[in-house]
Symmetry: D2
């Protein structure tokens, strides 16, 4: 079978590199174009990029000559890891030209006609693309911290209803890109603030868990309150969650709901789909980012310490790989699901 040609936008950045790293040997997508800033354009990728992954860049990719956003692209699907300072306009332009932009950038996430997708949770939201004014379309995935929260809340919301969620995050440095966080700020330290992050965590899940009615998303109605902290961890965001449900429940029921959760990516056995999107740990000291983030290709949301809470109902700790399931891997699974559902045909 012929592979679908794809391009990477923002190819030299942290997320762009991760796209390239993860798509090497992908069974259905083939990278044929790379787009980066004018500074890189015209050079071979291997020369333009300060490659930071743990194996050398694929030779074929390395030899591609980097394009700019002014060049016309041939790929149907564009994976965007562009910087927020330019992603807004550039992605719109690409969509106007007929491309399907699978974006990890924050710019269009909260646009009314842009779906914010977790394919296990709200694949029906892909329909929103049809109402976009573009020849192509824009599809986004959530912020890395929101991803794991929305994934865990989704099946619980459906069965138990949710009143409120309190969350304290302990976020890895890779979430800030490169060079990102200064070592002087984080080595042996905690920074109890990440610009703009609490807003995203407090609003994205409601859209993801929202209902598509008449081509509009009605946000799910519950309150999230977040403390976001940066910690000296390389990959993997850890989050303490306390949840107040609408219905009474038990620790066992919550474990069951989470363990049994599956969606279309699992049904269709997509390449980037984890066997189970949520893994429930019984050990009392898990999940841990350094040990568990890479489980099942880094595409799993790990949950542990599910126990009764004295203010809400249940508290737990969740953790996931912020640059895979929380960014590039999420976008790839979005694209796989979009294709598998026949939207591209």
């Amino acid at each position: 079978m012929e592979k679908i040609p794809v391009a990477i936008l923002g190819a030299t950045g942290t997320v762009g590199q991760k796209f390239i790293y993860l798509l090497e040997n992908h069974p259905t997508f083939e990278i044929i174009e790379l787009v980066a800033s004018p500074r890189s354009a015209g050079n071979r990728y291997v020369d333009a990029c300060n490659w930071k992954q743990d194996s050398p860049v694929n030779e074929k990719i390395g030899n591609l000559v980097v394009k700019t956003i002014d060049d016309r692209l041939e790929s149907k699907i564009l994976f965007s890891g562009m910087d927020a300072s330019i992603a807004g306009e550039a992605e719109t332009n690409y969509a106007n030209l007929g491309h399907i932009v699978i974006s990890n950038s924050k710019n269009h996430r909260m646009d009314k006609d842009v779906p914010l997708i977790i394919p296990e949770v709200n694949p029906d939201h892909f329909d929103l693309v049809k109402s976009q004014p573009y020849k192509g379309g824009i599809i986004t995935n959530s912020n890395c911290s929101s991803m794991f929260i929305a994934m865990v809340l989704a099946p619980l919301y459906k069965k138990l209803g949710i009143e409120w969620v309190q969350v304290s995050t302990m976020q890895a440095i890779s979430g800030a890109g490169y060079p990102g966080v200064s070592a002087m700020d984080i080595l042996g330290n905690i920074v109890p603030f990440i610009g703009g992050e609490e807003d995203k965590v407090e609003t994205e899940s409601q859209k993801i868990l929202g209902k598509l009615v008449n081509n509009q998303i009605e946000d799910a109605e519950f309150v999230i309150s977040a403390h976001c902290n940066r910690v000296p961890v390389f990959d993997g965001h850890t989050e303490n969650l306390t949840i107040k449900f609408k219905k009474e429940t038990t620790v066992e029921e919550v474990k069951d709901i989470l363990s049994n959760f599956k969606g279309i990516p699992q049904e269709k056995n997509l390449p980037f789909a984890p066997k189970n999107p949520i893994k429930v740990f019984e050990e009392n000291d898990r999940p841990q980012p350094a040990r568990d983030a890479l489980f099942d290709k880094g595409m799993v949301t790990s949950v542990g310490r599910i126990r009764v809470d004295s203010i809400g109902d249940i508290k737990m700790t969740i953790m996931g790989h912020n640059t895979i399931r929380g960014a590039a891997g999420a976008a790839i699974l979005n694209a796989e699901t979009y294709v598998a559902l026949g939207y591209l045909d």
Copy 2:
């Protein structure tokens, strides 16, 4: 003026070393006796101890011959950093013999007749010692994580009343003693569990903020729910707090209450008293353990990011030095206050 002779129990341990380190040059206390395990006993302290502080042990102290718990002591005041496995019985024995045991161990903290003291908060609880069945007495300070919570809640509880408090802690490795946490478990990692810690955090503050009525403490009535995490930070516990008050309030009022809080240690200008027990930061990325833990001798509780919460009323991040204000320094200030209030006479 003659100094008060004191002994250190558990002198070779982490807390014991910190007592010795902090009491060097103390204006009113003078260490004359050191007690440790039989393995160390009979040796000079400098030979018995694997000293881990950042300046060499004082020569006079280093030459003291280590005693065991079977030896009779001359000191009136004993600072105890003994391991919990033996502190319970040993401290009782010392109190029976007439010593005032200022203990950092957890064993007697929740005993009905043992005061759990923060001298800025509940110095009247010292009166409980009189009802103890001992010739001497036992006085305790709180767990290192509870300390900063109770300090911050105390003035707020008095003015605003409290319904509940949610807390997520990010605790430094020094809290686990030496060797304590394996580097394999914490380097670039988070461990979302600390044995027994959540229980202490959820119960100690209510005793500290309780009312002494008829020689009994009536616990303050509010709920605390805790997530406790170990993080790769050397010293300084950081804690995200969300509080539901009984009365309406504002961010400004909370800042005022915390900034203006003072107690007897400040009034009496005691050696280990910080100028203000609570420091309120306006910068949005503070407090940070690596930058702020040692402020004002490590005796300050730092508070930042005070803001409105959408579930409770106010959320904030607090931080303090876990082995100084949260352990050895707390005990020393307890002793200073006890003496300054004339209880020893």
Copy 3:
């Protein structure tokens, strides 16, 4: 083809776990027996072991009941990660009973009749096993720090001769096992001492590069002087090397010799053989443990910054994965090579 049944000695320890982790899905070896301390014996492995790897233990292995060193084993090949306190006698006993013990322990490494093998370097030393007084045999691999030095020196020694080598190591914490290094000692710190390590580094390479004459190894004659340091890195030992050769050479020649080095594992395309045992970096800031240790299954010795030295002739920085190529992976490749050379038949 039928797989060769193997056992893991010291199965619950750090190296033992790594053996199990790496041998999952091995094409020719199948773990059928696990041996650990009496405390673990009689329990299922999954219950006996504090598993610390980054994916869950294989279910079939997890259900194996752990045996003790007093139990008779069926496996022909035994991989030993036993603690040095018992490995000496136990390995001898197993060899007497007819097993081939592939050991990562230090106890027998310097025995005159025990080969210390790097299969790319001295596979002819396997012949030494024939002169052992056992029905079976003992084969060892080097210390994790010596491994990368010997690997790099081997082809250079052959072509250029060596007078002396100075080395400063920066060794990962995983080299000390679990719990191993206290976080209090290494977080944000350097410990300029590792007990016994400098001795091993200064002597093992000469045996590995030695010549087998009349069933005896004549050590290679050059001097190694080592500084060994522990650093806050999880996996991957980095080593600064300065070398004085017997013949004149150039940076380019050294690069050529190292890049082109291959041995029997490469010729026979063994499962754990890296494509090239040595990778030469041209970037001036490589190799780095966090980026490069896992390259080609963690079986590569990375070399960078090859440049002229003003005291010796050439200096460079080398790096390898201490628990894979420097321990469990090395032992597995030893076993693969031993089998591939027909010694087991």
Copy 4:
């Protein structure tokens, strides 16, 4: 006694902040002027600076209005922590205007008529200032890594002569300033390269240990070869040294020479002088940056593991605080010594 008014050049940078932090309460110097980039100029220091020290900036300093390099200064002594991109010309201009520039920047260090001073080692080199073509003068201190090497070599060179020195450094992140090293590059990692550092280490000591003859410095004649590595340590450079002397010696003699070394700062009991410039450790696992860097105001060079070497004569590990004794503190002690020797009169 009236204090000497001083200015800080590059006041908002890492070294500039350290000058301000260290000079608070200085008995003879008083900061009256701060110079920074045009972006900061005209603002109060507290508003212009992203203060990163562990106690708040002094209020009086905080209220000083920042000047630019175009403003005329009143201070006789200027401490320069200016960025190398502008320090060269700016320091020359200030010297022309009659100021004594005590510089931590690298620009003028190797100028023939600029002394590179360690006041315990070569205070006679201050005389070079007289031959400078300026109305004022420029005095420099060495690179942070060179400092500790030169300090240790100085007394050994005098008594034993030196042929060559091999050094491997493990350098703290604070040496790279702020933001400096990305956390993505150094968390749990080693970077075996620091741009320009090996050159400085290999050449500065020979000038410091050189002889002043006819107003010219004849460099000391020995070879230094360096490997420079960046490690995840906050403050404190650790260095493995191997030394070949001209005369035979013993471990004991080397210890004696180093322990007894003193200079003019000690004789004159200057405020920033450590009691002994070199501290020799007997414990085999010291010095360690996290434990020993702040010893005696951070002004000590710590030495441990002095032992016989099999290639050179003696090897050892040395360590010092890179931003205090290796930078701002060094400059302050240079100024104190310059004043104490009467050069300013």
